[in-house]
């Protein structure tokens, strides 16, 4: 036991936790400050007046009181993005290749997880499950989703990417886009033939939908509750666990060392006796498993999934990976959090600040604009990529 404990590299386990707290707090503070400054400025203008007429509260108070909830929401979705982004970043770090199909691998994970739960539900197992068993079933679904997604990722790499590894950069990317489209319809085909349905809905069980109330605040004539639902907590905790585990795998194990070696230089790594193909498969496996777990968590959080469920989260997660510095794991984390926060802050306040002229419908444009701005002005991302372009 002691030897086992000794073999665990404690700092490597804890380091990402510290980074997490730091990034989350930092982003929250910066964004909150920006929003508050805007609110202060706009409060005197017609924007503040309109809001006052409607809700009988000043724009600044409105902004301030909503802030904690917005921050929590932003953080939750941020962690979802971060978990998906890790899949992009792992593959990019090793192969310098954008795995466009990762979003569908994520979707497959979500579908398998949800199908497992629906099957359990059909046998009436879920309805009567105790709280502990509910969590066991959830974990079962997550594991199922991870295995399916991981396996699929490996298969896709084998079939559609490996034969193209030495072609020019765009060739595997086009193939990946093809895989992405193919998988979307494949999911639909399988779902429609087996279930006749197009949407799948995460069954209601356990206490996941309950909300932990953290506080109540008066806003004009109404009361705002500050809270976080249990499923959001599950999402955050699982995402953190995944990040920590992945970080440990890559930075403190032998396999991780091999992965890093392959990322540095394929030929040299193979000269050192590393089976490059196996490591690449492993990378896809790990990336896919993370994506699959994220998929099930996504379904848990948002209830309804369809075959195209992966597209937007996938694109956002890719943005997050680029934002943080693609190829860099900590960067993916930071990117996910920053993007989730930015998006939620923008979505929550833009409508109020522009008097309804540009509301949440511009949320996605916001994410794309960030992607474009980052790529233009800081293509290496916030943290800086650990892979330089091979000239």
């Amino acid at each position: 036991m002691k030897r086992f404990l000794k073999s665990i590299n404690i700092p490597e386990l804890i380091r990402p936790l510290g980074q997490l707290v730091f990034f989350s707090l930092g982003t929250t503070i910066v964004l909150s400050a920006i929003v508050l400054v805007f609110a202060l400025i706009l409060d005197r203008t017609v924007v503040g007046q309109t809001l006052f007429e409607r809700l009988n509260v000043s724009l600044f108070t409105y902004t301030l009181i909503n802030l904690p909830q917005v921050a929590i929401d932003g953080l939750t979705i941020g962690f979802v993005y971060a978990a998906i982004a890790l899949g992009y970043t792992m593959v990019y770090g090793v192969l310098e290749f954008i795995n466009f199909a990762h979003s569908e691998i994520f979707a497959v994970g979500a579908f398998v997880g949800v199908e497992i739960l629906i099957a359990l539900d059909r046998f009436g197992i879920l309805a009567g499950a105790s709280l502990v068993m509910a969590y066991v079933y959830l974990i079962l679904a997550i594991v199922g989703g991870m295995l399916a997604a991981g396996g699929l990722a490996v298969a896709v790499e084998r079939v559609a990417y490996r034969p193209l590894r030495h072609a020019s950069r765009l060739v595997p990317l086009i193939s990946a886009i093809g895989v992405s489209f193919l998988l979307q319809d494949a999911i639909r085909l399988v779902e429609s033939l087996t279930t006749g349905q197009f949407n799948r809905i995460f069954p209601t069980f356990g206490n996941f939908d309950r909300r932990v109330i953290l506080g109540k605040m008066a806003l004009g004539t109404t009361n705002i509750t500050l809270g976080v639902s249990i499923k959001s907590i599950i999402v955050i905790v699982s995402a953190v666990l995944m990040l920590v585990a992945l970080n440990y795998l890559v930075n403190a194990t032998k396999v991780g060392k091999a992965i890093r070696a392959v990322a540095q230089d394929h030929p040299t790594a193979s000269l050192m006796g590393i089976d490059v193909n196996r490591i690449i498969s492993l990378t896809f496996l790990v990336g896919g498993m993370l994506g699959g777990a994220a998929g099930v968590l996504y379904a848990l959080k948002f209830t309804r999934i369809d075959a195209f469920v992966g597209f937007f989260p996938g694109l956002k997660a890719f943005t997050a990976a680029v934002l943080g510095g693609i190829g860099n794991m900590t960067g993916a984390l930071l990117g996910g959090i920053v993007l989730g926060m930015l998006e939620t802050y923008a979505g929550s306040y833009m409508g109020v600040f522009t008097m309804g002229a540009a509301g949440t419908e511009y949320k996605d444009i916001f994410a794309f604009s960030i992607l474009i701005l980052v790529l233009i002005f800081r293509p290496q991302g916030l943290m800086g990529a650990n892979v330089a372009q091979k000239a």
Binding site: L55, Q197, N199, T225, D306, S348, G351, G359, E361
Partner: protein, 396 residues
């Protein structure tokens, strides 16, 4: 290599053609097309529109058969996509045997597709399209047997006013349908002196957090959603989870068992969930008992919303073709004659009401319902009680 491939390919096709020969053109065949989403998101409803029409064709084509016509159904899948709808429409009008189209679930598809029907003089009876523009273009060929969004939005707002709603937040799904209905709701709500705290469109299907924060801050008496259940139910569920306890109101896009599968108990909490619709559950119509039994017998499933309307649209088409054929001396009627015959029908007794069309193709009186969600069990969706029924003539 490639060249030879093409030669062989072309030759093969040519030879094949010689063997198949020109398909024998069977005269005296009458086809009635359906166009609805048979696949994809809206397919549950779309398939049942087709099934309703199919059932009607089976049961009511006897008079035409007696005249020596073989009546066939030609179902098309518009995929809820305007491009697919228009391409199908061109295909449909190019088949001279097709004399009428029952169709479209989505107004966004019906409007461009019916331009094609219009130019070819092909009659179209719509079982479900509620956008005003469907008929306000004034085409002779285009008719519908349901109400209109500009009325349905008003029905919703009037219902809300009746429930003493003082403030409302309006959300829509950024589709032609959802936004249209929401705009009319908003207009009427303002007339009724309700405070419209916000009017937002969103394509988001999962994460409504950022949309919910202004809703929660404003804490309106009612949240109105113009659009489909897939978004509405998720939004409502998330709103409840965040502590909103007011009333939800949506439109006939909400009418699907999946809505309650998603929302579950949350739809029943607080001030409850209601939706307005132009198509009540089949059970509510006087003549539908037999339809439901027949439908269940044939398809082994309960009819989805608009199945009965599909049945009636087909019935109207058959009746009009019969009338036109009789007027033409039992000969195959022209498309124009069929279109005119539909407009000429008086008090056609369908299972969802008596239909007479006005000069632009709206029914002279249409029924509107407001239904409350009372059970979290998807199986009991059709038992949800109708809390209000209105007969309203289309606006001038």
């Amino acid at each position: 290599m490639t060249k030879r491939f093409w030669i062989v390919f072309s030759l093969l096709i040519a030879v094949g053609m010689v063997f198949i020969g020109p398909a024998a053109a069977a005269d005296q065949i009458i086809k009635i097309a359906t166009q609805s989403p048979l696949s994809g998101d809206n397919s549950a409803v779309g398939v049942d529109i087709k099934r309703g029409a199919e059932l009607a064709l089976e049961q009511m084509s006897a008079p035409l058969a007696k005249m020596g016509f073989k009546v066939e159904l030609a179902p098309f899948d518009d995929q809820a996509n305007p491009d697919a709808g228009v391409a199908n429409a061109k295909r449909i009008v190019s088949d001279p045997a097709i004399l009428a189209v029952v169709g479209h679930y989505n107004s966004g598809v019906q409007i461009p597709s019916s331009e094609v029907y219009h130019t070819s003089g092909l009659a179209n009876v719509s079982p479900a399209n509620t956008n005003p523009k469907v008929t306000t273009r004034g085409y002779l060929e285009v008719n519908r047997i349901v109400g209109r969004d500009d009325v349905q939005g008003v029905v919703g707002a009037d219902f809300a006013a009746g429930k003493k709603v003082k403030s409302v937040f309006v959300v829509h799904d950024k589709t032609a349908y959802g936004q249209g209905i929401a705009e009319f709701f908003k207009k009427r709500a303002e007339e009724k002196a309700m405070k419209v705290l916000g009017f937002e469109g969103t394509e988001e299907k999962a994460n409504f957090d950022s949309l919910l924060s202004p809703i929660l801050a404003g804490n309106p008496d009612l949240v109105y959603f113009g659009g489909m259940y897939g978004q509405a139910a998720v939004l409502f569920k998330q709103a409840r989870e965040k502590g909103y306890m007011g009333m939800f109101l949506s439109d006939d896009g909400f009418d699907s068992t999946d809505a309650v599968k998603i929302g579950g108990q949350t739809l029943l909490d607080g001030a409850g969930t209601f939706y307005s619709t132009v198509s009540g559950p089949a059970t509510i119509y006087p003549g539908t008992a037999k339809f439901i039994t027949d439908f269940k017998a044939k398809y082994n499933a309960s009819p989805q919303p608009f199945a009965a309307q599909g049945y009636d649209s087909m019935g109207i088409s058959l009746k009009a073709i019969e009338a036109a054929a009789k007027a033409g001396g039992n000969k195959l009627p022209t498309r124009e004659a069929v279109s005119k015959a539909i407009r000429a029908l008086q008090d056609y007794a369908g299972i969802t009401g008596k239909f007479t069309f006005n000069s632009i193709g709206d029914p002279t009186v249409a029924k509107y319902f407001v239904i409350q969600v009372t059970s979290p069990d998807p199986a009991k969706w059709n038992d949800n009680p109708v809390v209000e029924t209105l007969d309203i003539a289309p606006p001038k």
